[in-house]
Amino acid sequence: MDCREFCDQHLAFVDDTLAGIELVRMQRHIAECESCAKHDAKIRRALLLFRNLPPITPSADFSHRLETRLKECHREQLVHTQRNLRFGAFAAVLASVIMLGYIGTTLYDHAGPPGDVVMAPVVATIPDSDPEFTPITTSAPAIVASVSAGLTIWPSALFAEQVPVRFAHSKLELANYTR
């Protein structure tokens, strides 16, 4: 064992956590190396001094002060718990009132006889007949393709844009057929 290895292992050596064979090697090194023996003695002596420092004890009023603070703390916790409980109860009551109101309103609505369904007024106009007007009897290929393919956005928009025209056309066509 060299001095470097001794220093590396010294922590475990002092704490007595080395395995048996390592311990013997360290002891043998101390017996051979004066410098490491001095280092070991220096550390052990310093530790002995520190470990033997007289312990300090809490002052006489330590317990009394702590007890007072703990009582305060206990009171604070109680107040906090009560506040939480109060808030919880208030929230529960509020939620109950809202729920009861909602249920009451719903029941009141369903209790009366069903009223007539009022539809929005519809105004339909037939454009003046135009001699040069040629109705489109089939949908534009793009629209047909889009509808069958199920594409939604643009084709739907285009389709919706042309719907009134198409309805008008079909109306006119229908009129022509009946004549």
Binding site: H10, L11, V14, K42, I43, R45, A46, L47, L49, F50, R51, L53, P54, P55, I56, T57, P58, S59, F62, S63, R65, L66, R69, L70, C73, H74, Q77
Partner: protein, 212 residues
């Protein structure tokens, strides 16, 4: 007469509970406290107050402040004991709280030198008080030597860097294992060993001229 008997029964019951608590390990005492036994907390205080006080005092070097910090430790334990993971050691948890508070105190001091100055001044004035731990039957020169040595040791510990001192005190004074120290200081095992080794070497170097 009935009152006297009732008082006697209560005191006997109280004594029994206290004795039972004393016989329990920390984990059982904590369980008792969480189960509503308020006296269990007093038992925890009794067990840890002196140990924590010594640990904090050796870390920060100011006795009064150390007492305040230990009180703060117990207040925090009281408030948060229901959150304590009972699969772990109670002592490790308590020392972690104390260690963090001591670290904060040292950090605050380094930010505010006035506090440090006041502490030093206060300790200086405290020199006039008689020491509690001296054997009054000793000869005056022995007493002086012991007192002087104690001061030197305390000064030498104070000279260690904070993170070294923390590990050093936990190991040498509190006898904590490396694993416990790692948990308390939130470092890995290698760091703990390295810091402890350096702290021991530095402490021995600092104190050597005084004891040789």
């Amino acid at each position: 007469m009935a009152d006297i008997v009732r008082k006697h029964v209560v005191s006997v019951e109280g004594q029994t509970v206290r004795e039972r608590l004393q016989a329990m390990d920390d984990s059982a005492v904590v369980t008792a406290f969480l189960g509503g036994e308020e006296r269990a907390f007093s038992e925890l205080v009794t067990r840890y107050q002196t140990r924590l006080l010594n640990f904090v005092y050796r870390t920060i070097g100011d006795r009064e402040k150390a007492e305040d910090l230990v009180q703060e430790v117990f207040i925090r334990v009281y408030r948060h004991l229901h959150r304590f993971d009972r699969s772990k050691k109670f002592s490790t948890w308590v020392y972690t709280i104390a260690s963090n508070l001591a670290k904060n105190e040292l950090r605050n001091r380094s930010r505010n030198p006035l506090v440090l100055f006041q502490t030093v001044q206060k300790n200086f004035q405290d020199e006039d008080r008689p020491l509690q731990f001296e054997d009054t039957t000793s000869r005056p020169d022995d007493m002086y030597r012991k007192r002087h040595l104690r001061e030197i040791v305390e000064e030498s510990v104070a000279k260690l860097p904070e993170h070294h001192r923390n590990v050093f005190v936990l190991r040498e004074l509190e006898g904590k294992s490396y694993e416990e120290i790692a948990e308390i200081t939130q470092c890995n095992l290698g760091t703990v060993k390295s810091r402890l080794n350096r702290a021991r070497n530095s402490f021995a170097e600092i104190i050597a001229p005084y004891v040789d």
